[in-house]
Amino acid sequence: MSAAVPLPAVRPPRARRAGAIGMLVSTGPPGIASAMVIAIATVVALVGPLLAPFNPVLPNLALAFVGPTGGHLLGYDFEGRDVLSRLLAGAQSSMLGPLAVVVGAMLVGVLFAVISAWRRGAVDAVISSGLDILFAFPGILLAVLAAAVFGAGLWAAAISLAIAYMPYVARVLRGAALKERSQPYVAALEVQGASATSICLRHIVPNIMPLIVAQATILFGYAMVDLAAVSFLGLGVQPPAANWGVMISENQGGIPQGYPLPALAAGACIVAVVIAFNVLGERLFEQAQARR
């Protein structure tokens, strides 16, 4: 029996991990400005209810649709509540919902993408055509169907949207994972006896991480728009709870009366955060593509 020939340890070439800060700095001024908007929105979402100067749910009909005054910068809403306080308190559900959608869609999407790329062949074909078929259901329609069955609520909507977005995630990441899978270092690791799980989790996923982060960022914007739409339709967050989508729908009545500020202020919050996520996501995506 011949002695086992010691194989030279192959060190897989890892993508330069620039780190979160480095990735952010390289997105340039628009990217950094977007990241700051996102950071502010996140802080408000975490501590918003504490920052609110007035009670965001207690109505005072005598003050309905009263314009901005000294202590109330954005005036009062249709039930006489302080608009600024409601915006601050509403950040929580407006940001937390999309976060849940993104986490759910990304976890399952990455899983399918990596399995598809790793097994290739028949498994890939089955997963890919399965995902193509799932494309048939637009997110908002699935959320409305879920609301009809389970009743209105943020969670049913968030889960529906996560299911509807998942195929998009999996489709984009599958391509990147396939490319990574065919790299020589993966074959070298296989020869060395590394398990599939360890190669995928320790090498393939970290190497496509910049793309995963970029996808998640872009997805957050979409999720925020769709979830706010569901709440606007009265099928998501339920009043009197504060939420940006709910605020637009409940203050719509003020517009014909020449008092559009409460509805527009909530709309502006959504647009600002969505633009920030879109710009940052697009920049990160370009970065991730350039690095490959």
């Binding site: 259901f137 637009p138 329609l141 606007f232 969505v274």
Partner: protein, 316 residues
């Protein structure tokens, strides 16, 4: 090869619709409680009505048999009976379908005309015009339809009084007037996306070597743009237009609700609020079918424009 491609896409179409209809029917069983509770939306019905529901949905038969009866009925235009209005769902839907079709069509025209127009203008003329197209489209792409709706109403209906704020019209001309603001609200973000994609496609084609050669050959600019740039840029433009127009079908519910239009989308939402499951199922089925059919049509158009596609699958 092209026939094989078309066959594969059509097979996908049927599979997509089968899965979608299965999900829509199966929603009955996902509901908390039994399917009767889901169908009645939690209302307490007299025993005679329960028996009618049981018979209509064949609830004493196995699940797959029930699905088959339901699908067979749906294919024959029988979508069940609304629990709130006690009327045939198909009749209820048909009377509202025109508003929705008109709105989506109107928005599509706006998207194609303005989106592609802005994209071509920005792509061909670098400088101030291009920058303004880029900035406007970046902002409008992020404006959700319901925010656009309230902003448009506040400005054009309440302040300037150019258009009515709510509701449908009575004759064709007033219908168009009533649908103008909703169509812009519905199309705004898609318009921006189409403009951006068109612009970068034009840019890319204009930078190609064959275009440079054509310029040096002294080919007139008009002909150059039409034959050498637009022809090649048409492929990504068609794809993005098709995808965004298909996505209007989902957003339609939001816009119809914001403008109190009497269409399918708004009816879907009120039915979901009332837990009128038969109506929700019927409208979902119609809208998902439209969505899938448009998507497949885009794929086929794509294969016609770019014969290479028929060899592989869509390149996106």
């Amino acid at each position: 090869m092209r026939l094989a491609f078309i066959g594969r896409r059509l097979a996908m179409l049927v599979a997509s619709l089968a899965v979608a209809s299965f999900v829509i029917f199966g929603a009955l069983y996902l509901a908390p409680g039994n399917p009767i509770a889901a169908l009645s939306g939690g209302r307490s019905l007299p025993p005679s009505s329960l028996r009618i529901l049981e018979a209509r949905y064949h609830l004493n038969q196995p699940f797959l048999v029930q699905y088959w009866y339901w699908l067979d009925n749906a294919l024959h235009g029988n979508l069940g009976i609304s629990i709130t209005l006690r009327e045939n769902v198909t009749t209820l839907i048909a009377s509202r379908a025109w508003t929705t079709a008109g709105l989506v069509l109107y928005a599509s025209v706006i998207i194609l005309a303005l989106g592609i127009g802005m994209g071509i203008a920005g792509g061909l003329r670098p400088g101030l015009l291009d920058t303004s197209v880029l900035v406007t489209s970046a902002i409008s792409a992020a404006i959700p339809a319901f925010v656009a709706a309230i902003a448009l109403v506040a400005l054009f209906a309440v302040k300037l009084r150019w258009f009515p704020a709510l509701g449908n019209g009575t004759d064709l001309l007033s219908n168009v007037r009533h649908l103008t603001l909703p169509a812009f609200a519905l199309g705004l973000s898609s318009l921006a996306i189409v403009a951006r994609v068109t612009r970068s496609a034009i840019r890319e084609e204009a930078g190609r070597e064959h275009v440079q050669t054509a310029i040096s050959r002294g080919i007139p600019r008009r002909q150059l743009v039409r034959r050498h740039i637009l022809r090649n840029a048409a492929i990504p433009i068609t794809t993005i237009s098709g995808i965004t127009i298909a996505s209007l079908i989902a957003v339609d519910a939001v816009v119809e609700t914001a403008f109190s239009l009497n269409g399918l989308g708004a009816y879907l939402v009120t039915s979901a609020q009332d837990k009128d499951l038969a109506v929700v199922q019927g409208i979902s089925l119609v809208l998902v079918t439209a969505f899938v059919v448009i998507n497949v049509a885009v794929d086929l158009a794509y294969a016609v424009l770019d014969p290479r596609v028929a060899l592989g699958s869509r390149a996106t």
